[in-house]
């Protein structure tokens, strides 16, 4: 029969594995490797812990810790014993070590937590920013340029075309193209230097547009690698937006289809939740999907729901790295709604 004095406590800590006696005095303290912390925080047994259990198996051992694997009741410490151990390490002599060990471990975990979808999120967010930047600069460029050649700016509605034309063609050439006599233009004459200044912006816009195309190609490549199923069903642009709104590939794989349907419509959604008189939204960013834009108005809700369903399946297949079924999922939708590819 074990007497109270035989009680031994094993308490693993970042500071080392403590072996306490019944009065919580330290009998032994075993050093741990940095790699052990990983196992300990994942609630797995480390070799050191197993060795110590064996070493003291003839004593009344209690383990102060949690493990995924069940261990016998007699081995479990009670709440009071946990508190005593935690109280023991609450000591000025240990805080510096708690700090350094935790800093190292946190760094390791941050590094480990990197998943390639983080790159996708950055690129997708960047695309939105590029759009804003391009629009702002183009507006200014046009405003400024229109002092010189307003007719050409009006004619060249497409921004990309506008910047490339004004950089390569003279005022005369551009006006000729739209059958306006040079002298009839409302635009003023400006010095060569002044024109060069305006065209500096056009140059920047051209480069930003090229960057946007470059980033889009990059996103397409990434999505093909990380989430080909989502890409097949939702398309690159909408797929990327959905993942950004969900937070990560893992998160979107955990979302119910109904939430995926609503991603992007949060304002309308919560407005409806707070006031039932306000109608619920039918879709968020899915709104832009060709299946919805092509469908009859009365079918928008149905299509959005079905689309969200398939995307939710696609997301799970992508996250758990299953076999590619994106094309089939898309075909099922096309068949259901009579859409010809």
């Amino acid at each position: 029969m074990h007497k109270k004095q035989d009680a031994i406590y094993i308490f693993p800590s970042a500071l080392g594995i403590f072996i306490f006696d019944a009065e919580f005095k330290v009998i032994e303290k075993k050093d741990i490797h940095a790699a052990d912390l990983d196992k300990m925080s994942s609630l797995e047994w480390t070799d050191s812990e197993k060795q110590l259990l064996q070493k003291y198996e003839d004593k009344k051992v209690k383990f102060i810790g949690f493990k995924k694997e069940h261990f016998p009741q007699e081995l479990s410490a009670n709440k009071e014993e946990f508190s005593k151990a935690l109280n023991y390490v609450k000591s000025q002599q240990y805080f510096a070590e708690f700090r350094t060990k935790n800093i190292l471990f946190a760094k390791k975990k941050v590094k480990q937590s990197f998943a390639r979808d983080a790159l996708l999120m950055q690129a997708a967010a960047h695309l939105g920013e590029l759009d804003k930047a391009i629009n702002t600069l183009v507006k200014r460029c046009r405003d400024w340029y229109e002092l010189y050649n307003p007719e050409a700016s009006k004619e060249l509605e497409d921004n990309e075309l506008f910047v490339s034309e004004v950089l390569h063609k003279s005022k005369r050439e551009l006006l000729e193209k739209i059958n306006i006599k040079y002298d009839e233009s409302m635009g003023a004459e400006v010095h060569k230097d002044d024109l060069t200044q305006i065209l500096e912006i056009a140059k920047q816009v051209k480069e930003l547009i090229a960057l946007k195309q470059n980033q889009t190609r990059y996103i397409e490549k990434l999505m093909k690698e990380i989430c080909p199923n989502i890409q097949a069903v939702a398309g690159t642009v909408i797929g990327a937006k959905l993942i950004v709104l969900a937070g990560s590939l893992k998160r979107i794989s955990e979302l119910p289809a109904s939430t995926i349907q609503m991603l992007g419509a949060e304002k309308a959604l919560f407005r409806h939740i707070r006031n039932k008189k306000s109608l619920p939204p039918k879709y968020g960013v899915l709104h832009e999907h060709p299946f919805i834009t092509q469908a009859k108005k009365k079918d928008h809700g149905k299509v959005a729901r079905a689309l969200a369903d398939k995307i939710s399946i696609a997301a799970k297949v992508d996250y758990f790295k299953g076999k590619f079924i994106g094309t089939e999922l898309k075909k099922a939708l096309e068949k259901k709604f009579g859409i010809r590819a």
């Binding site: 935690l86 700090r99 941050v110």
Partner: protein, 222 residues
């Protein structure tokens, strides 16, 4: 500038408003762009109540905050360390802050903060599973939680149960909308109060308006 009733927390009246400050543990450095003020050779950091719920709690008239020099604090929901840095200032060299956050992107900033301050340990972990950091922390004198999750009260009780010393204090910042987006905040606060009362003694509670909309801070004792 004068000392408030709380150690290492100071206040200044600027154009009729009260601004709180903490004594900078690491003079010469700001953490998040806050104003640094030197008076009589001592450097203080401005503490924005719109960003830190503890500061809001103080400005709403709290009599006790439990966070004081020498305290060992378990801080759940540390985020980028804005409020953690002020807690670090208050507890000082003799105190310590175990700062837990779930997101790698914010923990990165916490690590940088901990590298500059000797009394912070950054922990990347899910507070909903407190067993995971048993080996990384010690017992706490104070538990502070600011986590916007539906089951935030549950998380709070789990951590208080495991890590807070007997007779220790625990602060819980509750965001009504996280618990239930459609219910009126007062109702949510009542529910939370009922649940807390079953396990802890509630010492104080203050609604944090206008500093934080629809938030309440509870100060409890184990």
């Amino acid at each position: 500038m004068k000392q408030t009733k709380f150690f290492n927390v100071y206040e200044q009246k600027v154009r009729g408003r009260t601004i709180l400050l903490t004594k900078n543990l690491v003079p010469g450095r700001d953490v998040y762009g806050e104003k640094l003020i030197v008076e009589d050779g001592i450097e203080y950091r401005e503490w924005d109540a719109m960003r830190s719920k503890i500061a809001a709690f103080i400005l709403k008239g709290a009599d006790q905050i439990a966070i004081k020099p020498g305290a060992i604090v378990l801080y759940l929901g540390a985020s980028t360390g804005t409020t953690v840095s002020h807690v670090s200032d208050i507890v000082g060299d003799e105190g310590f802050v175990f700062a837990v956050d779930i997101a790698p992107i914010t923990t990165r900033k916490l690590v940088f903060l901990a590298e500059k301050r000797g009394n912070i340990a950054p922990i990347l972990a899910d507070s909903n599973k407190p067993e995971a950091y048993l080996s990384l922390v010690s017992e706490a004198d104070v538990v502070f939680q600011d986590i916007a999750q539906r089951n935030q009260v549950d998380i709070f009780l789990k951590n208080v149960n495991l890590y807070l010393k007997e007779g220790g204090f625990a602060l819980l910042a509750v965001k009504a909308r996280s618990v239930d987006v459609a219910a009126p905040p007062k109702k949510v606060f009542q529910e939370v109060k009922k649940t807390l009362e079953q396990h802890l003694k509630i010492i104080d509670s203050r609604i944090l308006d206008p500093f934080q909309k629809d938030h309440i801070m509870f100060l409890c004792k184990k």
